[in-house]
């Protein structure tokens, strides 16, 4: 049985309800838009060359004819597609693991990368590393997607146009010559904080050639304060690596210590003996083990 859903007829007396401002104003533009959006009798295709019934008849006939010819009863031709050049060390269908590290502000997170056919699919903490065990953090887990980021730069671009590698090399050479003229007085490097020895070495080489250059380290949350406090408390060259696995109570003042995305994953170490009580916040609350249930994260 066919159901026809229709709005109840508008009553000519009593209150007049409207569903949109357009309907309320009842302007010609609105009526035109309404006709374009919901043309009268669209479901029936009346007045057209084809009615809906004709269309269904024709489609039914073509489906039946398609069946007569057994169109889809052919052996599908599939292909074996080997690599053009082999991926080193891979065995088809088996994982290949690489030990690697993800650089962080105060160090690096030791990792194991699982690859299939030369493509990394998973990052895990390196279980052989004494500092972190198998721990990783959210940033590490998410970084696997960076490797497949479609917006990663794959070409050399100048003024929005693709250029050749040689053009870029020439540009760099030009730039170098310009900088060497004034011994680097006109250049500044803006970099993130990191512990990379490679970057320190490169910086040394740059300073040799460009003694006048400026080297600026910027982080939204610079660890200078931490360094100064550590120096005051424990002397120069010290660095605090909290071992949360041994803590009964953790008191955190204005510190998001659970987000230890700085290369220190001690707090996420897998061999944690017990859950420490957490106390964070702008005002000081101290909870012992008894008060663990009431300990709340705030701030």
């Amino acid at each position: 049985m066919k159901h026809v859903f229709q709005h109840p007829p508008e009553s000519t007396t009593g209150k007049h309800y409207w569903r949109s401002l357009g309907e309320y104003s009842d302007s010609p533009e609105f009526r035109q838009w309404l006709e374009r959006e919901f043309p009268q009798g669209i479901a029936e295709l009346n007045g057209d060359e084809w009615s809906r019934r004709d269309f269904v008849k024709l489609m039914g006939a073509s489906m039946a004819l398609a069946g007569v010819g057994l169109t889809s009863c052919r052996r599908p031709e599939l292909h074996l597609v080997p690599f053009t050049k082999n991926v080193e060390w891979t065995i088809p269908g088996k994982f290949l693991y690489y030990a690697t590290a993800m650089p962080r502000r105060n160090g690096a997170i030791p990792l194991l990368a699982t690859t299939v056919d030369g493509r990394p699919i998973k990052l895990d903490g390196n279980p052989l590393h004494p500092a972190t065990g198998e721990a990783t953090d959210t940033f590490t887990q998410a970084s696997i997607l960076d490797l497949y980021d479609p917006t990663r730069s794959k070409r050399f671009v100048r003024d929005g146009k693709t250029i050749k590698r040689e053009d870029f090399d020439a540009y760099l050479k030009d730039l170098r010559n310009k900088l060497l003229v004034d011994h680097g007085d006109s250049v500044a490097f803006l970099v993130e904080e990191t512990n990379s020895p490679t970057r320190e070495r490169l910086r040394g080489e740059l300073e040799k050639n460009l003694p006048g250059m400026r080297w600026c380290v910027y982080e939204p949350l610079l660890s200078q304060g931490t360094i100064a406090a550590t120096q005051d408390a424990f002397g120069a060259g010290a660095r605090v690596i909290p071992k949360f696995d041994r803590a009964d109570v953790v008191l955190a003042l204005d510190s998001d210590f659970l987000d230890c995305g700085q290369g220190d994953l001690a707090c996420e170490h897998a061999q944690r003996q017990h859950e420490p009580a957490l106390c964070c916040g702008k005002s000081v609350h101290a909870h012992g083990r008894d008060g663990r249930s009431s300990a709340a994260l705030s701030g």
Binding site: L78, H79, L80, V81, P82, F83, T84, K85, P92, K94
Partner: protein
């Protein structure tokens, strides 16, 4: 009351039944024969992008299967050679042969050669090449005399019944592990004394195999089956897992 139907109509029900039985039997037999892998697949010989002659490479030049299908002993999947493997030789041998144009194009452009898949194991079947070739099942048992094929065709049906033939009686197919990639091997090639010294004799052997002149496939297979403790799965989950 007059007869509405003439006399000959009395036989119509019987005729209908007989016709029906013949039709049903005929359809069943035809489906049984024509719609099973034994008929539909055997001899499938598609046109490959390069008409790779196995007979020249293996029988004439003496190449081992594992030069190209290099992971067959290690992986579940036996790989087809990549372009690099072809070009190891064909940068020097037959380097202007027009038949090899797809390989050279692939090498230049980096796009792989698309070989047409002949031996296709469906996704709901687990098959491990390494497990078979490392335990005395030769390439020959499943792929036929590939070393004499000028172009590869499907030589065995690869139906489930065919798999089970071997899983129920592996002794009919097992051979010494060093002969797995020798597709021309015959049971007569085995020297009984050496064979017995290496693999022993089955428990219920009626005679001393080492004193026999020749060993049959059944004797060799039974010996190897007991020596390697081969017990192929015949339950559903063995392959459909």
């Amino acid at each position: 009351m007059a007869n509405f139907f003439p006399r000959w109509t009395n036989w119509i029900p019987l005729k209908l039944v007989v016709c029906g039985i013949i039709t049903v039997c005929g359809l069943t037999a035809a489906t049984w024969y024509y719609a099973t892998p034994k008929y539909t697949k055997i001899g499938y010989e598609p046109v490959q992008p390069v008409p790779f002659p196995h007979d020249i490479h293996v029988s004439q030049l003496g190449m081992d299967c594992r030069y190209c299908h290099s992971f067959v002993e290690m992986a579940a999947q036996s790989n087809v050679p990549n372009t690099q493997t072809c070009m190891n030789c064909h940068t020097q041998v037959q380097k202007d042969n027009p038949k090899l144009e797809p390989v050279r194009t692939s090498w230049k452009t980096g796009n792989p050669v698309e070989w047409v898949w002949i031996y296709r194991t469906v996704d709901y079947v687990y098959y491990n090449h390494a497990a078979h070739v490392n335990r005395g099942i030769s390439c020959f048992s499943c792929h036929g005399p590939v070393n004499h094929m000028s172009t590869v065709y499907l030589a065995k049906p690869h139906s489930m019944a065919w798999c089970l033939d071997c899983h129920r009686h592996p002794e009919n197919f097992l051979r010494p592990e060093d002969q797995v990639f020798n597709l021309d091997w015959k049971p007569d090639d085995v020297k009984p004394a050496e064979f017995v010294a290496k693999y022993g004799t089955p428990v219920d052997a009626s005679e001393d195999f080492s004193k026999k002149k020749k060993l049959t496939q059944a004797e060799i297979g039974q010996t190897l089956k007991e020596h390697w403790n081969i017990n192929p799965p015949t339950n559903c989950q063995g392959c459909h897992r």
